[in-house]
Symmetry: C2
Subunit: 214 residues, 2 copies
Amino acid sequence: MIPNQTFRPPASTARDRVLEAGVKLIRAQGYSATSVDELCREAGVTKGGFFHHFASKEALGVALANYWSRSTGAFFAAAPFHHHADPVERVLGYIDLRIALLVGPAESFSCVAGTMVQEQFRSSAAIRAACEASILGNAAALEADLAAAIAQTGATGVTAGGLSRHVQAVIQGAFVLAKANGGDDQAATAREHLQHLQRYFELLFHQEPRENPS
Amino acid sequence: MIPNQTFRPPASTARDRVLEAGVKLIRAQGYSATSVDELCREAGVTKGGFFHHFASKEALGVALANYWSRSTGAFFAAAPFHHHADPVERVLGYIDLRIALLVGPAESFSCVAGTMVQEQFRSSAAIRAACEASILGNAAALEADLAAAIAQTGATGVTAGGLSRHVQAVIQGAFVLAKANGGDDQAATAREHLQHLQRYFELLFHQEPRENPS
DNA sequence: GCAAGCATACCGACTGGTTGGTATGTTCCG
DNA sequence: CGGAACATACCAACCAGTCGGTATGCTTGC
């Protein structure tokens, strides 16, 4: 969801190093395939240190989803697209930002919560709930702007809540297709889908299309 | 992607029973979390039997993605939406069908290829490629109808290939959000997103919106 | 017609390594 | 001194994969 390290402070404490290792390894390999030993090695922490901070691997998963929520939430809250006066421009500006973040290999921009929930939604209720909160938290951050855009343009048949969740769904789907892409530009694959989302909003809010890719 | 068993013949040979077990277990738990022993137990096959048919767990993953491609490909090829004279109606009919398939818990309608590729895209190039082929195969099946719809309506700024991939991206994203949903109707969550996709196409192809959910 | 020869399908005990997790320290800071 | 933050050593369960073996059926030569 967020490029490596550009907005997260370098991890100093052992606990934060484990969480950063979790982001890196789980993005690339998934939750189940990432062992506690591997997390310890990557974080430069011993087994004892790991289980001092996290009661279990599952607890690490929950903590990681929460860590991810806080990091991404803070990043988007501080982003400049909020300054547009027009709510439609704020919504499109959010998607512009999401597109701009799509660079490099899939493991550098994909979503930790989306990856974890896909594997763990049945096996761990706690991880599922934490990932749901992360994804819906991202959605909620756009809901007020969408409500204002709907009110202003008179778009019918949609709700702000439904649209805000749909933005996250398209983003998650874009990540899946980017990961499936074996070519050399997984980010371009992901961008393609966010541009379709943008066009959907332009049509819905009666805006002139702004550019023409894919 | 496809409801359980409604179109797949009951597995008779040991090999097919293993593949069916793979569909069931990997949909619910993911690839890494599903052990060979578990697959054997579910399929009623011994370890020896498993490795007689599949050289490795990875080979099972590849075979499973191919099996999935063939099953879903045959199902959609035989579906009645192809009979519409209007290409736009064919496209919307495909989405209608996908919506109609969204019933029950997420593990009964989600996509094996999408689940596997999310975990394995870096760990196994063979599985990644097989999953990509499965997803892009589904996309390709709609491409001619989309090309005709674009030609007929004069929709600009989109390509049939790009739109066909986008359909699959939205479907995959809908599955992720459905899995994240802890409520009692994961299928309704998924449907919501396909209805937004439908509205996108209606706007793009200048159709009257047909109904109003979410 | 039938048996020798061989391939396919399947079995289940076994192996070496890995897993998540624990028990018992040690170190260091207030 | 006491407790938080680690480190070391270890464990039982589980992992993917191996191996020697059997049952069955098909094919081919006589």
